[in-house]
């Protein structure tokens, strides 16, 4: 009871502290403090089965644990990166950034545990609102435009998701399945849900939460938001926030699965997944802005996640593993891209080259991150993508596997061209050093993330394997 609430309230309680603390220099250190506290709470919660509060509205199940683990590892490492980064950006007020990041951490804990459809919706909306001000960190017209789009498109998605939640609730009322909106109750009484309403509900929910995930064609906020946000915010959005929305989609998939309507949901998810991968590949070709490129990479990987769930069977395990792999790899890429941005003062390939010479560690991390994110062995994403691909082949969905392979090849080529331009060669004349150098605090966190990605590629610790398998079982049809 206490633990479930603490996972939400401890980071949330630190947020006002960040807003009230007057020192610009000491405020960023609240982030590692909050991150470490949450990591410790999560570590205490992971082995337990009874983390629950508010008469079942909050419950930590295996799916929630996977998300919580990812969020906390990412947030803690980003938080370690934050003080050094914010010291470089001393001209910007970091009050809103620090406060809102902690508020985001708290509300994401709510998403991971929410088992009531209304509460889940409120929690996702809260993560959106908490993260919006962090995009406006640079206080210029470009970041304002990105924030406006993010908020408006995100809010519309959230509104459609609420409409979908109402449809689902009505399908329970219509079918006489009672008036509870708890996931457990809906799954138990799933056979009585009215199929017509359930189908309409899933469409609205998938479009709504899919907008928050950034699936094509609802991804238009993503390149702007990720391009303008500081690297550590980009990490939290690409790895954490999208994961929250994915968990929401999974909750509704669970209900569809229990109602015997999974085939309908799976078709939609396979189509949306493949479209996202192809759209991302198209926009990544000849992309000149390397932070926008990362946004399209995120669109691609969100596509892989829903595709994995759509393929089903063994791919469910692969999709959950890919959630972890993608989140951690995005951390490597966004943080090292942020360093390169600091060292050159530009995000365009026409102006940045020779990153390996000017910032050798960040440049190498960016290159390694590229290989990892495009599914090259021995990194983690290779394993998870391979599992999904193999399941598609075995499950008689060969054409899905073919499109999947085509898409990741296009992405590899498009992304590779941009990345190589940045890391190779000599810094251009006229692009004088900005004074930024690799230091332990700016390369340590992405290095640690890369080590984790590598670890997941060569060795999956048995407790993690068991957790992922348990989470995947929750998404399988009940026999």
């Amino acid at each position: 009871m206490v633990l479930a609430l603490a996972l939400v309230l401890v980071p949330l309680g630190l947020a006002p502290v960040a807003f009230l603390l007057p020192s610009e220099r000491w405020r960023p250190w609240l982030l590692p403090l909050g991150g470490a506290a949450r990591l410790a709470l999560t570590a205490a919660a992971l082995p337990r089965q009874d983390v629950t509060a508010l008469s079942g509205w909050l419950q930590l199940d295996a799916l929630g644990k996977v998300l919580l683990l990812l969020l906390d590892v990412l947030f803690f490492l980003c938080a370690l990166y934050a003080p050094a980064y914010l010291k470089m950006r001393a001209s910007r007020d970091n009050r809103a950034l620090c406060g809102c990041m902690l508020a985001f951490l708290g509300t994401s804990g709510l998403v991971a545990q929410a088992h009531h459809l209304g509460l889940l919706w409120v929690a996702i909306e809260a993560t959106t609102l908490a993260s919006a001000p962090t995009l406006y960190f640079n206080r210029n017209t470009r970041s304002l435009e990105a924030t406006w789009k993010y908020l408006l498109i995100g809010s519309v998605g959230i509104a459609l998701a609420l409409l979908g939640s109402f449809f689902l609730a009505y399908s329970a009322v219509r079918g006489g399945a009672g008036s509870s909106l708890l996931v457990e109750d809906l799954v138990r009484d799933a056979a009585r849900l009215s199929p017509a309403w359930l189908h309409a509900a899933f469409i609205f929910l998938f479009v709504g939460y899919g907008t928050k995930m950034g699936l094509a064609p609802m991804h238009t906020w993503k390149p702007d938001a990720y391009g303008e946000a500081p690297g550590l915010v980009g990490t939290l959005l690409a790895g954490g926030l999208t994961g929250c929305a994915f968990l929401a989609v999974l909750r509704f998939f669970q209900i569809c699965q229990a109602a015997g309507q999974a085939a309908f949901a799976r078709q939609i998810m396979i189509a949306a997944g493949l479209v996202s991968m192809l759209v991302a590949g198209a926009f990544m070709a000849r992309q000149r802005d390397y932070k926008r490129m990362l946004a399209y990479s995120s669109v691609e990987h969100m596509g892989i996640l829903v595709l994995g769930v759509g393929v089903g069977g063994g791919a469910l395990f692969g999709a959950l593993l890919h959630l972890l792999n993608n989140g951690l790899t995005k951390g490597v890429m966004f943080l090292s891209a942020g360093n390169i941005h600091r060292a050159f003062g530009s995000r365009l390939t026409t102006e940045v080259s020779g990153a390996l010479r000017r910032v050798p560690v960040s440049g190498a991390l960016f290159l390694a991150g590229f290989f990892a994110v495009t599914g090259t062995p021995p990194f983690g994403p290779f394993i998870s993508e391979f599992i999904i691909l193999r399941a598609a082949m075995q499950g008689d969905q060969v054409w899905v596997a073919v499109v999947f392979l085509v898409a990741i090849t296009v992405v590899f080529l498009g992304m590779g061209a941009t990345v190589l331009q940045i890391v190779q060669g000599e810094p251009r004349p006229g692009r004088e050093p900005t004074g930024f150098r690799d230091t332990a605090l700016t390369v340590g966190p992405p290095l640690a993330l890369l080590a984790l990605v590598l670890l997941l590629g060569v060795y999956l610790p048995p407790p993690l394997q068991a957790l992922l398998a348990e989470a995947a079982r929750a998404l399988e049809p009940r026999s």
Partner: protein
């Protein structure tokens, strides 16, 4: 459900068309406020027995959607000294036509969904979907930040009407959460409107076009 429900829904639908056809921002904001008041009345009308809980929630709805948020928008409009929506991406007459087609499609789609016995014959579902569509149209085809925010409000109103089918099943907490979230969303948007105003000296989101693929 009382007999007042369907007439109120018709009023809401007519307001949708009024909003789609006007260029004056003041009329758009007033129309949104009127719809907010109609929603409050609708909330009382769908309940068979009027309880304190219902009246309180209706009062909060009217205060938020009918008074407070339109007031904030009116102030933003005065501060920015703009009166009209000019050159929308889709013109006013085509918007009206699209709204009409959308309402027709909503009526047809709603008929494919089976209703519980107490709701059969009600316009609730089709009115909800039609209002959502209207909001979406305003949001995507208008250029002024204020009109886009009203579009979002109309969209939320449509979702709210759908929620009325569930008054028995929805606990108080969730209803309140819905309203609170809306307030906060608009509040944050209000702050941003102020910033757009200061940065660009206008409330025209068409100027927010620096970020795109080349």
């Amino acid at each position: 459900m009382s007999r007042a429900v369907d007439p109120l829904l018709v009023v809401i639908l007519l307001l949708n068309f009024a909003l789609l056809g006007t260029s004056r921002l003041r009329a758009v904001i007033n129309g949104t406020a009127a719809q907010g008041v109609a929603l409050g009345a609708l909330l009382v009308a769908v309940h068979v027995e009027t309880s304190w809980h219902t009246l309180l929630l209706a009062a909060v709805t009217v205060a938020l959607k009918g008074v407070l948020i339109p007031g904030m928008l009116n102030r933003a409009m005065r501060d920015a000294a703009i009166r009209r929506e000019v050159e929308p991406i889709v013109g006013f007459i085509p918007s009206l036509l699209l709204g009409g087609v959308g309402t027709g499609a909503a009526l047809l789609f709603a008929r494919t969904l089976p209703l519980a016995p107490q709701h059969v014959g009600s316009l609730l579902v089709s009115a909800s979907l039609s209002t959502v569509l209207t909001g979406f149209l305003l949001l995507t085809t208008r250029r002024k930040a204020i009109t886009q925010v009203t579009g979002y409000l109309i969209l939320e109103n449509g979702v709210f009407i759908m929620g009325l089918l569930l008054v028995e099943a929805m606990p108080f907490l969730v209803e309140l959460g819905v309203l609170l979230d809306l307030l906060v969303a608009i509040f944050v948007m209000g702050i941003i409107i102020n910033h757009i105003n200061r940065e660009f000296s206008s409330l025209d989101t068409a100027r927010l076009t620096a970020l795109k693929e080349e």
